[in-house]
């Protein structure tokens, strides 16, 4: 699964996710990637989120919307909200990670697996790329 979240010069957030799903899946199984609020969510008042991992758990925990809700209702910063949600996924037995970018340009990239291909770029073009923990 791949995904991106962005904040443009007008202060607008967007999120996108694209995937091939799971190897050997049957019966037209669909994961979280195309489910708005689970694998993908964006709200200018809070955050843009894209997830990757075991889709069934991301759907059940409504990952993208949950990050946003924690920020909107509990006023959690994006780092805390994103980590809280990934921890919820982990407690259920699911694994994976997410990327989140808030309306002020703060980001988080939590995951509970050994690694996650991830990267970010700042306003002035500084690139960060990470793979492992």
């Amino acid at each position: 699964t791949v995904g991106a979240v962005a904040l443009d010069k007008s202060g607008n957030l967007a999120a996108a996710t694209s995937t091939g799903g799971m190897t050997n899946k049957k019966y037209g199984r669909i994961g979280d990637s195309p489910i708005i609020g689970a694998g993908t969510y964006a709200n200018n008042n809070t955050v843009a989120v894209s997830g990757t991992g075991w889709g069934e758990f991301f759907i059940r925990t409504v990952v993208g919307y949950d990050v946003s809700a924690l920020m909107e209702y509990k006023k959690d910063p994006v780092s805390k909200a994103a980590q809280t949600v990934i921890d919820k996924v982990g407690k259920l037995g699911g694994d994976g990670g997410l990327i989140a970018l808030d309306k002020d340009g703060n980001m988080a990239m939590p995951f509970n697996t050994e690694g996650m291909y991830r990267g970010a770029i700042t306003k002035d073009g500084k690139i960060e790329i990470y793979i492992y923990k």
């Binding site: 699964t1 962005a6 967007a14 690694g115």
Partner: protein, 183 residues
């Protein structure tokens, strides 16, 4: 905060000991290319939607990642892809699921958001809509990669009834047991 774009290319059992320097270089280059493509849109004053679409297109076109070309295979030996996009300003959203002929599924998701009254379309209907909306349609063979095909054969051999997660093995529930990046 100072960030304008964040991307991911999947999570799972990704250990340095299992990665060759050449492979790691390829992954880093692909991620950098995606970041630069999205950043260019933002620098041009384009929307965040344009930025995320540009970044995801790069990753969809790269067979290293489980999306677009390089997507994993279903039990029946097909590539079935899903994608979605959301506009934080308007809360509009679009998604496609189970599509097999759309070269860049994220483009189809955006078309659903902007050119229809719906949020999600699936299967053949989504493909027909994407074609009418001007998305590039390809033969399903475009998505074939040898590594993913081998991944399916391995999964079938291990247990033909179990689906395999992206790139994980020995997970907490013990259901999925693979040692390669399957998606």
């Amino acid at each position: 905060g100072n960030y304008v774009l964040v991307i991911h290319g999947g999570a799972g059992t990704i250990l340095k000991k299992n990665m060759t320097p050449e492979k790691e270089t390829q992954y880093r280059a692909a991620l950098e290319q995606a970041l630069k493509a999205g950043y260019a849109k933002i620098q041009e004053g384009k929307s965040s939607l344009d930025a995320v679409q540009a970044a995801v297109n790069i990753l969809e076109d790269n067979p290293l990642f489980n999306a677009g070309k390089g997507a994993v295979f279903t039990h029946d030996g097909k590539n079935e892809m899903d994608a979605s996009i959301m506009n934080g300003k308007t809360l509009e959203a679009g998604a496609v699921a189970g599509v097999t002929t759309i070269k860049n599924p994220i483009n189809a998701a955006r078309a659903v958001m902007e050119k229809s009254e719906h949020v999600m379309m699936a299967g053949r209907g989504a493909e027909a809509f994407a074609k009418e909306a001007g998305c590039e349609i390809v033969d399903p063979s475009y998505f074939y990669t040898e590594d993913r095909w081998k991944g399916l054969q391995k999964a079938l051999k291990e247990d033909s009834m179990k689906a395999k997660l992206d790139h994980s093995f020995n997970n907490k529930l013990g259901i999925i047991n693979i040692d390669n990046k399957f998606g």
